[in-house]
């Protein structure tokens, strides 16, 4: 019997559009000013074309693979990737300092990019196993462990950005039964974190105390609410003070800088403000031993990025005509700051269209995920959409100055073989599973 490939062509078309648009923008950011239009494989845009080719081959292979393979080998792939990460960590400790890639010829393979794929597979497999739900302490701990272990390894590699990506699985867990309160809690904690940096800790704690007192007074007849308010107040205060501690003692100067820059805070002013107000920790500006580090201006990236995007106005300067882009004023423009090129060369209308197309792709994947008939495919679909969403949110938020500089790529757009290939694998593995859903149904009838 002839099996038709019931692949979701809308997703494929959106994928192709974004990948090609990415290559065009990498060319713009990467080629010289008066350079003739040609393909130079020694340059990044040339290499990206190669990566697209490799991705196409891998995509083709995935589509040929039997859908059962992914379910079957999910744990195996997970174990292999975890092994690779540990090997990197071990060799890195020998070589003084973290190393996040394997060198293969002149190409670098970054296992942390594939770790997301492996984690998605493993989590899907676990939650998709017959009779296992995201319920019960043991199952929850195992699910969190599957996510947390590679996250910890990436964090140990000093790749904070990639490690943060693993928090996106909270969206998957939310779909699978995690209480919505956890999402609220995360948002509450982020809000407190921002407030702690913007305001003296003591004023936040006093405000919280007043608020809690008000709740306690209004809810004096409901004992449950009374205790809840007390618990929220105490834990928030501890959280705020520990944030102070973490920020002042644990974060590295460049990490402090990045966070402060996003919130338009001056480092010196911040320390003056913090040392004046009540705090159990003495705020002392961290001594910067590296001279280069002390001179580095962390607001530069974001400033240049905003100027670049702002220069685009309504319609932008057009392909290969962005002055900021061509002058190479934005660092890392072909990788993490690729959106600057979109902003400058295609303007507000182009950027808006791009954002909409991208969100359409992610929304489409969420939609496809929800229509899956088996848990494995559904969890994997939600994982795919969540990972892409998290990258999109952080990457563009950072480029337009809404979020701190966290160096993670924009999937399908940013230069880089590991990221393009791993995201393509992620997407097409899911599309293969989705195509199979139709086959499964047709087989039923």
């Amino acid at each position: 019997m002839e099996e038709k490939l019931h692949i979701d062509w809308l997703t494929v078309i959106l994928y192709i559009l974004i990948v090609l648009f990415g290559a065009i923008n990498i060319y713009s950011a990467n080629s010289g000013v008066d350079e003739a239009l040609r393909l130079d494989f020694s340059k990044e845009y040339g290499k990206q074309v190669l990566f697209i080719g490799v991705s196409a081959i891998i995509v083709f292979l995935i589509l040929l693979t039997d859908y059962k393979f992914f379910n079957f080998s999910a744990y195996g792939i997970y174990v292999v990737i975890i092994g690779l990460l540990m090997v990197l960590l071990a060799t890195g400790s020998f070589n003084k300092g973290a190393q996040a890639w394997f060198k293969i010829g002149s190409f670098k393979l970054q296992p942390s990019e594939f770790a997301k794929y492996a984690t998605a597979l493993a989590l899907s497999k676990f939650l998709g196993t017959f009779d296992i739900k995201f319920e019960g302490r043991r199952n929850i701990m195992i699910a969190l462990g599957i996510i947390g272990f590679p996250m910890l390894l990436t964090l140990l590699q000093n790749d904070t950005g990639s490690a943060l990506v693993f928090t996106c699985f909270i969206l998957v867990l939310f779909r699978e039964g995690l209480s919505g309160w956890w999402l609220v809690l995360v948002m509450y904690m982020v809000t407190l974190f921002v407030l702690t940096i913007l305001l003296p800790s003591i004023s936040i704690i006093i405000s919280l105390a007043v608020l809690s007192a008000l709740v306690v007074y209004l809810a004096r007849k409901k004992q449950q609410l009374f205790w809840l308010a007390i618990i929220v107040f105490v834990s928030s205060s501890v959280y705020i003070l520990s944030l102070d501690y973490v920020f002042a003692r644990i974060l590295k100067p460049h990490q402090q800088q990045r966070i402060l820059v996003t919130l338009n805070q001056d480092v010196d002013e911040y320390y003056v403000k913090k040392s004046k107000s009540f705090s159990i920790f003495k705020f002392k500006k961290a001594e910067v031993t590296d001279k280069k580090e002390s001179k580095r201006d962390y607001s530069y990236n974001v400033r240049q990025s905003k100027i670049s995007i702002g220069a685009g106005r309504w319609l932008g300067n057009g392909f290969n005509n962005g002055t900021q882009t061509k002058a190479k004023l934005v660092p890392e423009q072909h990788t993490d700051f690729i959106f600057c090129t979109v902003g400058e060369e295609y303007g507000f209308l182009g950027s808006t269209l791009f954002v909409l197309v991208y969100l359409l792709l992610i929304g489409r994947i969420f939609y496809l995920a929800e229509r899956q008939k088996n848990e494995f495919s559904r969890v994997f679909g939600y994982s795919t959409a969540s990972i892409l969403f998290f990258h999109f949110f952080i990457n563009i938020g950072m480029a337009i100055g809404l979020l701190p500089v966290i160096g993670i790529p924009l999937p399908f757009m940013s230069y880089g073989g590991s990221s393009l290939i791993s995201f393509s694998m992620l997407l097409f593995t899911f599309l293969k599973l989705d195509a199979n859903r139709v086959n499964e149904i047709s087989r039923l009838y």
Binding site: G32, F174, G310, T323, Q324, L329, G401
Partner: protein, 618 residues
């Protein structure tokens, strides 16, 4: 809640994020225009393309001022590592400490941008460096354009260039630090025409100000427009001839074409080669010229007020007639001078009494004492002071005591005192006898050579003059400033000039005060002057115009400490008139002996010029 409904929570998050991003983009790209303007400033760099400065030619089209290439050695300090410093210093003939100092300064300015490390390479160094510079990749030669002067004199006329000052930078946005502009002479007064319009090349620069290529495909580039070429009214041949005649003398010559006001030549002596003040030599040479006791930088022709001496009698006669106190037939006696009480104004031996015409020809001092007193003591006016004020108004109408308005900077008004000056000197009721010396152009009166030449123009034109100017037309369109074609009439009626001109016509024929200096075949109308000088020998002064009717040239010559007007000033003036009027400049002078004597005359001592030249360097 059905868990599948949670999809909508997630989709709502997508929509929220999309909305936030789009609103943020709208603010960044549309509302906040500052980013757009910052982008303009960040990514681009304007490179000025300097236009060619206009050239200056003489009235016959001979090139006087033009542009020439000069070479600067440039360095990009960041790249200047691992090179043979000693060898390069040897090539440049520079000691290493000085070299290091310059390199450090350049590095401090901007290590990534090229800076000048050796300004104005001499040509032999330039050619030598061309051969060896490939060994020094951080260094390269930049070609700039400098001014060259085709004449080794006329420095005051042509002027020189210099770097703009900070104040000028503020006043005129055309200039940028390091630009040059005209400081004196024609270079200054026609700066706006000569400088042209700068071009602009906008280049894309990266964060290190390193050029990446042209900005926006050259959309904002503009081409430079060369400065206007200027046709001067100067007769270069006459200018050079005048400078030769005045060599080894101190003084000046101003020659004007009366029918247009065009200046034919302005000679100052001592003079200097304007090429001395170009390029690297400028600072050293300028100091030497400034310290020279003979003041070669001083523009005598336009700035030095001399007592006009007897040349002033022409003006006195004209004013006297206009005021009605003198007629051509008026005769005054002279008994070796003018005597009044204790005052005596001496005069030389001549027949007596003389009429007006002969009083000019013979230059009788006594005659003009009578004339001036009759002007000042005119019963028409309530007091001497009022008559004096009227008299100064006459002088002003002759361009005396006021600026002539010549198109060169640094002109002096000369000296014409106000009545209040004499009140302070002689008391409130001062009398005509107090100022009697002015009747013969001595005392409290001073005219610049330019004003005296202009005076000769007025007499030649019988009553009017054009503002003297050294530029005939500007640019390809031959623009002539309208002020140059405007006639200025003096307060004396045309009919009174004939007698004075008749007297002047006899000065250079035997029996006149400069009888031996005349040129056969040319009627030169002239007046000698001998100005007493408290610092030494009298100044020799001469004004003239020729021919008598429709004169083509009016001239004033002053030779400091030259004695009688007829001794030096008259021969020099007449030789210049002869040369100008003979259309073939190659013809020998009709007075070869006089020419020879003037060329050889040395009134400043033999060593003076040599000692000056010794201090100057090429």
């Amino acid at each position: 809640m059905d868990k599948s409904r949670r999809l909508f929570v997630l989709l709502a998050m997508l929509v929220a994020v999309g909305l936030v991003f789009i609103i943020r983009l709208f603010f960044l790209q549309i509302v906040d225009t500052s980013n757009y303007y910052k982008a303009q400033a960040y990514g681009s760099n304007d490179i000025t393309i300097y236009p060619a400065r206009g050239t200056i030619v003489d009235r016959y089209g001979k090139l006087m001022v033009y542009n020439d290439a000069v070479y600067d050695l440039m360095v990009v300090p960041q790249k200047a590592k691992d090179f043979d410093k000693v060898a390069l210093c040897h090539e440049l003939m520079l000691d290493t400490t000085e070299f290091n100092k310059r390199l450090k300064k350049a590095s401090k300015y901007n290590p990534r941008e090229p800076s000048v490390i050796f300004k104005n390479l001499p040509f032999h160094l330039y050619t030598r460096l061309q051969e060896v510079l490939y060994q020094y990749p951080a260094f390269y030669i930049e070609t700039k354009i400098d001014r060259r002067y085709n004449i080794n004199g006329a420095a005051h006329l042509l002027g020189y260039m210099g770097e703009v000052t900070e104040k000028q930078l503020e006043q005129d946005k055309y200039y940028k630090p390091g630009d040059t502009k005209g400081i004196t002479g024609l270079e200054k007064s026609y700066e706006v025409y000569l400088r042209g319009h700068k071009g602009k090349k906008v280049v894309l620069v990266d964060k290190f100000s390193k050029t990446q290529g042209s900005f926006a495909g050259g959309k904002f580039d503009s081409l430079p427009f060369a400065g206007d070429n200027i046709i001067s009214s100067i007769d270069l041949d006459l200018q050079v001839f005048g400078e030769k005649l005045l060599a080894n003398k101190i003084g000046s010559i101003v020659a004007i074409e009366p029918s247009t006001g065009e200046v034919l030549s302005i000679v100052n002596s001592p003079n200097y080669d304007p090429n001395l003040l170009v390029g690297q030599r400028r600072n050293k040479n300028f100091a030497a010229l400034l310290l020279d006791p003979r003041k070669p930088l001083f523009n005598r022709a336009l700035k030095a007020p001399y007592p006009p001496g007897s040349t002033f009698k022409t003006i006195q006669a004209l004013i006297g007639m206009q005021e009605g106190v003198l007629t051509p037939d008026t005769k005054y006696p002279c008994s070796g001078g003018y005597h009044m009480g204790s005052i005596t104004v001496g005069c030389h031996a001549h027949g007596s009494p003389l009429d007006l015409k002969n009083s000019i020809t013979k230059s009788c001092n006594a005659y003009y004492c009578f004339v001036y007193r009759s002007i000042l003591d005119n019963p028409k006016y309530p007091s001497v002071q009022d008559a004096y004020v009227k008299w100064t108004q006459y002088l002003n109408s002759f361009g005396i005591g006021v600026l002539t308005g010549i198109d060169l900077p640094e002109e002096s008004k000369g000296i014409v005192k106000k009545p209040s000056y004499f009140e302070r000197e002689f008391g409130k009721n001062w009398r005509s006898s107090n100022v009697i010396s002015m009747s013969i152009g001595q005392g409290q009166i001073g005219l610049t050579p330019l004003q005296m030449a202009n005076m000769a123009c007025i007499i030649g034109n019988r009553g009017y003059f054009y503002t003297p100017h050294v530029v005939r037309s500007i640019g390809d369109k031959h623009i002539v400033p309208p002020a140059f074609s405007q006639r200025h009439y003096c307060m004396v009626n045309k009919m009174y000039f004939d007698t004075v001109v008749a007297g002047m016509a006899n000065v250079c024929v035997p029996g006149g005060t400069a009888g031996h200096t005349g040129i056969p075949g040319i009627t030169i109308c002239a007046k000698t002057g001998t100005a007493q000088n408290p610092h030494g020998k009298d100044h020799s002064i001469f004004i003239a115009f020729a021919p008598r009717d429709n004169p083509q040239i009016a001239i004033c010559v002053i030779v400091e400490n030259g004695g009688f007007g007829a001794d030096y000033a008259a021969p020099i003036a007449n030789l210049i008139i002869e040369r100008y009027l003979s259309k073939n400049r190659g013809l020998p002078s009709a007075k070869p002996d006089m020419l020879n004597r003037m060329m050889k005359a040395n009134l400043i001592g033999t060593t003076a010029k040599d000692s000056l030249n010794a201090k100057l360097s090429d």
